[in-house]
Amino acid sequence: MAVLTLLDAINQALDQKMAEDERVVVYGEDTGFEGGVFRVTAGLQKKYGEARVFDTPIAEAAITGSAIGMAINGLIPVAEIQFDGFVFPGMTEIVTHMARFRNRTRGAFGLPIVIRFPVGGGIRALEHHSESLETLLGHIPGLKVVIPSTPYDAKGLLVSAIEDPDPVIFMEPKRIYRAGKQEVPEDIYRIPLGKAKVVKEGKDVTVVAWGAIVREVEKAMKLLEEDNISVELIDLRTINPIDEETILNSVKKTGRFVVVQEAVKTYGPGAELISIVNGKAFLHLEAAPARVTGWDITVPLAKGENYHFVQPERIAAQIKKTAKF
């Protein structure tokens, strides 16, 4: 079994789906010849040719809008948006058309599309390069939203996303593109969308996170080792649809719930998950559910970003508070 980074695992998923299914096309700004600014698509154009792996003009609405036409006319587009913040000029198509076409036409046109882009902070980048957009996209009926946290999950989730009959927003936590390696099976495999994963079992507090933040929670758990607090860590993996069952089963066991997100606080997934827990596991709760989030501000540039991001210390402090509530 090869040991791959998250970035390599995504490349392998694209490669294997392109080999398996001629309808799959991969494109975006600098995605073809160069292999993307992060090199996620490196080598694909050489292997599959310019018609199936190509560079586009810098025009995000054309990237997302053309995906709709391509999907209707027989292709499976996997379009790349270069950075999270650049999705906004393409949001018009994602929100007003892509998410709605199946419903608008009462099933005449379903859209098998994947829109991939790097998300989140932690690489000391320019403005618009560090955004966590799961709230905005998770809020749109008709879209599925996925964020992997490990190389193994990234490959299996992306394969499922490409095979999904509906549009999937595939968010890639750029901070951990190359941060760690993991054994990833060479063969193609699938991880179902909408299923969370229990990363570590525990009995005192349920903590839910996703993407790069799963690792931050793991760091927080190390800080808590001496406090004798047993954390059950769940990686949500899919923002929409939500795997309520895995979360509720855990909360019914621990009675305590903390959700951690890098996205800004208000109306975020944390609020949604807490609402689900309150509504469906209220009598099992022994503490007020809590969230650790980015603040309701514009993501600061490099010199200020650490105040905004959810650091292990801040996560650990909240877990402690919730455990001792």
Partner: protein, 361 residues
Amino acid sequence: MLFKDYDPLKKKQLQILDPKGKIVNPDLEPKIKKEELLKMYKTMALGRVADIKALQYQRQGRMLTYPPNKGQEATQVGAISALEPTDWLSPAFRELNMFLYRGVSLETLYLYWYGNEWGNHMPKDSYVLPVNVIIGSQVTHAAGLAYASKVLKKNQVALATIGDGGTSHGEFYEGLNFAASYDAPLVVVIQNNQYAISTPRKKATKAETLAQKAVAFGIPGIQVDGNDILAMYVATKTAAEHARSGKGPVLIEAVTYRLGAHTTSDDPTIYRSNDEVAEWEKKDPLIRFKKYLIDKGYWSEEEDKKLEEENNTFVGESFKNVEKTGDADLLDIFKYTYKEMTSQLEEQYQEMKSFLEKGGK
């Protein structure tokens, strides 16, 4: 040759059939078979009646907001009839006659404006996308249809229609530029009906013509008398051949006029004069096409009268059938958000269903 002769920077407009129904450009008169010409005319005639009656139904409170097509029939039918039946149409929302020509039933089309998404459930073999309300965005969809046609060697052209107002929108530029970059087989027809709701064309762009915008994309453009069905047919046919042969997109500006309101919510008397409308009524595309057909011996006033009566009855019956459909089914509004309902949606559906079953308690 056509695109060279009518280079938009030469400020010429293609016309073959003048407002009086005379052929003014005999070299370019297309050889269209009688049956085809009659299909074109009958589509326009049905469209005209359906349009006028839709307005009446809306005024009677039986139909919701509706965007009239009156005056733009030649632009629409001339363009769509020049395509192969498997070429795609990516429309905006004022293309009633194009849908009809492609065999989408009037009941289906009315159903949409009656307030039911089943009116956008286009038959698979019609190769038309649904009504698109977001201005300009259909051009990028068409660019994608065209790109897929090219990669999968389907030999299809994608035709996008857009209003003059739509050419102010970013996706008009992004979509055409995208398709042109790959020589994808895209044709864009601008239905220049002179107004973006109330804003006249001249206030929306400094460009002298909309056709000349083609120059910047590096593609052919042509300005056409949009009330002349023969000119629209010839321009679109030539454009589709150009695109299909791998040479890339073409931009057609059809100069026409919306004789009705923007939608049933609009009052055009606020922003344009009766004299102006009267001038354009003289250029009515149906009058000149009928004259052409009669002169050719393909049609007569008697047949025309009979057709109008038939259309009146047919449209009336179609709308009655639509009114029988009533409210949407509860499951319908949940069921098509995804191929399979998510557990969250299933739960919400059950909640609403049981609320209704308990009599709303």
